[in-house]
C-alpha cells in the first residue's frame, strides 16, 4: 500500500488513477466543504453552485466556526460527518461538475463504485471524530457561500498536510468497504454455526 501526496484541485487525471484502495494519501491545496442541505439545493432544487468544482476534493462537513467582525469566519472545530447519507449525489457531482474526490467517514455503499470507476473519482476515508487534528490541518477558511444554510454552506478551505486519509474506493472499481463487508458476511456464517 503506497503513500501519496496529492494537491487539489487536480488538473491531471493521473493524480486520481494512480491511487489504489488501501493507499495512504495526504492532501495539500484547497478543499470544499459540503453537506446534505448543500447538495439537496444543487440537485433537488436545481440551484447552480456558485463555485467551480472541476477537479475538486469535497469534504462532508458542517464546521463549528466563529464569525469575526470583519465578516470572515474563524475555525473553532472542523470535523467530518457520515458519508453514506449523501451517496446518491456521487454520479451527478462527477458527471455535471467534474468533482474528482469525495472525503468523509464511514464509507460509501456499493452504488458509488461504478460511477467512481466510470468518472475517475475516488472516495477518501478520514478518521471520524478526529476533529481536533483535522482543525489544525485547515489553515484558513477562504470562502463561505450560501451562508443562509449555516453550517451546511459551501466552504472553501486551504489545507496543509490534510490526513492521513485512506483510499476507501478507487477509480478502478475497488472498494475496501465492499471487501470488508463481504468477508464479514462469510465470517458471520461461521460465527452463527458456533453459537
Amino acid at each position: 500500500m503506497a503513500v501519496h501526496e496529492v494537491t487539489f484541485p487536480i488538473t491531471d487525471e493521473q493524480e486520481i488513477l494512480k491511487l489504489r484502495a488501501g493507499d495512504e494519501v495526504v492532501v495539500q491545496g484547497h478543499i470544499i466543504g459540503i453537506r446534505d442541505r448543500t447538495q439537496i439545493r444543487i440537485f433537488d432544487q436545481g440551484v447552480e453552485p456558485p463555485m467551480d468544482l472541476r477537479g475538486a476534493f469535497l469534504l462532508h462537513t458542517a464546521p463549528g466556526v466563529r464569525k469575526l467582525e470583519s465578516g470572515k469566519y474563524e475555525k473553532v472545530c472542523i470535523g467530518t460527518t457520515t458519508s453514506a447519507r449523501m451517496v446518491r449525489f456521487t454520479e451527478p457531482l462527477g458527471a455535471q461538475y467534474g468533482v474528482r474526490a469525495i472525503c468523509g467517514k464511514g464509507g460509501f455503499p456499493d452504488e458509488a463504485i461504478e460511477p467512481m470507476r466510470k468518472l475517475g473519482m475516488v472516495y477518501f476515508a478520514i478518521v471520524g471524530g478526529a476533529a481536533a487534528l483535522e482543525t489544525t490541518q485547515i489553515e484558513e477558511i477562504e470562502e463561505v457561500l450560501w451562508e443562509e444554510l449555516m453550517p451546511e454552506c459551501l466552504w472553501k478551505f486551504r489545507v496543509k498536510d490534510f490526513g492521513p486519509l485512506t483510499v476507501g474506493i478507487d477509480a478502478h472499481g475497488n472498494s475496501l468497504y465492499h471487501d470488508v463487508q463481504a468477508r464479514a458476511q462469510e465470517k458471520l456464517k461461521e460465527l452463527y454455526a458456533r453459537l
Binding site: C77, G106, G107, L133, Q181, L191
Partner: protein, 301 residues
C-alpha cells in the same frame, strides 16, 4: 427559540454550574479508561489501515489536549444520567431546569455547535436545548442526600446506528447474539468504530433501548453485576472482534473496545434486544453534588 429557564436557588445554580462544566469537559477531555482501551487497541491492531486509524486517533486526542479543543466536532445531543438521593434538597423538576440551563450556557459561552432542531420543521430550537431536550436518565437512591450527574454528549453518527428487535422467547440467547452481531457488521464504519456496544435486553421495547443507552454510559472495564449477563458481555466482545470490520470499518482486528449489557426482567412472551452504539470518542464526564452545593468533579463513573 427557547430561552434557558430562570433558576432560583444556590443549589440549583450549583447543578447548573456542574452541567455547564461537564458538557464542555466531556467534549474536550475523554476519560482515562477510554484512553487506556484505545492505547491497548493501537498495540493489538495488525491491519495497515486499522493501525493508521488508531494512530490518527491517538494524535487527535493529544492535539485536543494541547489545543484545548473538542475531540470531535459533533457536540451531540446532551444526555445526562442523574442519580438522585431521596434526601437531596432539590426536586428533580428543579434539577432538570438546572441541567437545561447549564447545557444552554455552555453552548453559548464556549461557543459549541448547536444541534437541536424541531424534529419535523428541522429548525434550530435553541442552544442545544429544545422540547424534551436535553435528555435525562433518572435513578433514585434511598437513604442518601447527594446527587451524581453524568454527562454523555451523544454523537449522531453512532446514534443513527441503533437497532431494536423484538425476538421470540424461542429465539433464546442465540437470537440475541445473532442480532448484536448482524447489527454491528451492518453498521460497518458508520458509527466510528472501535467503540462501546451497548446492549439492552428484557423489559419492554422502549425500556430495552433506554437500557442500551445506560450500557454505553458505563466506564470501560465495568461489568454487569449479574454473572450470567457478564459472561454474555465477554462472549459478545470476543465474537464482535472476530468480524473483521476494524477501525472506521476499513478492516482489522479491533472492531469494538467493549460490549456492555444492561438487562431487566421481562414478560414471559417477550425477548427484546436493543443495540446502541457509542463511537470511539466515547465522551463522558461526571460530578458529585453534595446537599450543601459543593461539587466534586470526577470522571471515573
Amino acid at each position: 427559540m427557547l430561552q434557558p429557564p430562570q433558576l432560583d436557588s444556590d443549589l440549583q445554580h450549583a447543578v447548573e454550574d456542574a452541567a455547564a462544566h461537564l458538557y464542555v469537559w466531556a467534549l474536550k477531555d475523554i476519560p482515562q479508561d477510554l484512553r487506556d482501551a484505545l492505547a491497548d487497541a493501537r498495540l493489538r491492531e495488525t491491519s495497515i489501515p486499522g493501525k493508521r486509524v488508531l494512530e490518527t486517533i491517538h494524535r487527535n486526542i493529544n492535539v485536543a489536549d494541547s489545543e484545548k479543543n473538542l475531540v470531535c466536532q459533533d457536540t451531540g445531543i446532551a444526555v445526562y444520567h442523574a442519580k438522585v438521593g431521596e434526601h437531596f434538597p432539590l426536586h428533580p423538576a428543579r434539577i432538570y431546569d438546572a441541567l437545561r440551563a447549564g447545557t444552554a450556557r455552555a453552548t453559548i459561552e464556549h461557543p459549541l455547535r448547536s444541534n437541536a432542531v424541531h424534529t419535523l420543521t428541522r429548525e434550530n430550537t435553541g442552544p442545544n436545548i429544545g422540547y424534551r431536550l436535553p435528555i435525562v436518565h433518572w435513578e433514585f437512591v434511598e437513604d442518601w442526600d447527594g446527587l451524581d450527574v453524568k454527562c454523555v454528549p451523544k454523537g449522531s453518527g453512532s446514534e443513527n446506528m441503533s437497532f431494536l428487535k423484538m425476538l421470540n422467547p424461542a429465539d433464546g440467547v442465540k437470537g440475541i447474539k445473532q442480532f448484536v452481531l448482524e447489527s454491528i457488521v451492518g453498521a460497518g464504519g458508520k458509527p466510528c468504530p472501535p467503540g462501546i456496544v451497548g446492549v439492552g435486553i428484557g423489559g419492554s421495547a422502549d425500556y430495552a433501548m433506554a437500557l442500551a443507552k445506560d450500557a454505553i454510559m458505563r466506564p470501560i472495564g465495568t461489568r454487569n453485576p449479574d454473572p450470567i449477563v457478564a459472561e454474555l458481555e465477554d462472549e459478545l466482545y470476543r465474537l464482535l472482534n472476530e468480524t473483521g470490520i476494524g477501525p472506521m470499518g476499513l478492516g482489522g482486528d479491533v472492531t469494538v473496545l467493549q460490549c456492555h449489557i444492561e438487562h431487566a426482567d421481562t414478560h414471559m412472551t417477550l425477548n427484546p434486544v436493543a443495540v446502541n452504539y457509542q463511537c470511539w470518542a466515547a465522551r463522558r464526564a461526571s460530578a458529585h453534588i453534595a446537599a450543601d452545593g459543593s461539587i466534586d468533579y470526577d470522571n471515573k463513573v
